[in-house]
């Protein structure tokens, strides 16, 4: 019942899963890969939240559940807590992780100091391609958060924001 695998195996598995879904399973229809990966994350989050809420008293409100995700749930998954939690007290929460483990291996394109005018269009598409490739890796953790919160009785929508790697923000919008 207590078999363990190394963390690097899990990291590699996640990277390979994204690559397999984008490049092999849905190569002709890339827009279908993202919801499929998010659905896998949803089921994983659903099951993990069952396991990590054993022996815990019930949460009295949404904020308690989000704090559980930020502290205990995140430290079980990534051995660290969410670094910053912001809310607008109207159902939107921003969870910021300053060094998200699954993105630490993603290369960050250094922005060139002098841009040649003739190269600008290709640079723009390069940046958007890397941004798009990186964002594919975020559907899985978004699904995990959504699955965990749904199991705690909080239907929500989760999106991710990677404006400054390797920090990553997850925006949780609770459906009223």
């Amino acid at each position: 019942m207590g078999r363990e695998v190394s963390e690097s195996c899990v990291d590699s598995l996640v990277i390979e899963m994204v690559s397999a879904y984008c490049n092999r399973f849905y190569a002709s229809k890339p827009e279908l890969a993202a919801p499929r990966i998010e659905a896998i994350g949803y089921q994983v989050g659903h099951q993990l939240s069952e396991r990590y809420t054993i022996e815990r008293p019930r949460f009295s409100d949404h904020l308690e559940a989000i704090k559980f995700i930020c502290k205990d749930f995140w430290s079980e998954l990534f051995k660290k807590q969410i670094d910053n939690l912001k809310t607008n007290h109207r159902g939107t929460f921003v969870l910021q992780d300053n060094r998200f483990r699954w993105l630490t291996r993603v290369s960050i394109d250094p922005s060139p100091a002098n841009t040649d005018l003739s190269q600008e269009p290709s640079l723009a598409t390069d940046e958007s391609k890397t941004a798009q490739a990186t964002s594919m890796h975020l559907y899985f953790p978004c699904g995990i958060i959504r699955g965990a919160l749904s199991n705690l009785g909080i239907p929500c929508a989760v999106s991710a924001d990677i404006s400054n790697l390797p920090a990553c923000s997850f925006v949780v919008r609770i459906k009223a």
């Binding site: 659903h46 939240s49 069952e50 396991r51 054993i54 022996e55 815990r56 008293p57 019930r58 009785g153």
Partner: protein, 143 residues
Amino acid sequence: MIACVAVVGHQNNPLYLQSFTEADDALKLHHIVHCSLDVIDERVNNPKKSGTTLNEAFLGLLYPTENYKIYGYLTNTKVKFILVTTDLDVKDADVRNFFRKFHLAYVDAVSNPFHVPGKKITSRTFAERVSNIVNTFWLNTAV
């Protein structure tokens, strides 16, 4: 002597029901479990300051009938465990212990990737573990 254990999902859908006595009617046990769901909802929505604390998982004795005692347990994910027992003097600590082991077995069953959340639990391993837990419970209280 445990008559039956049941797992009910958060939409009050039955996920697992196992009875351990041949004598009693399965329908009667279903009915008892169903009535206890109402008691659980009542307990959770109107917390009484005396007795159970507000957010504890173990709900204690739900209601006694003439032959049975019914205990309840509510997890954080709104899944309810119900224990129907015919013993007339069951210690609280024993029931808490039972529910703790039962919760662990439930989590393992639900972590099965082939289990569909919301559908009945069909795992044989889960059924075996529940039988073991029930048997050790019976041995502990018989002493």
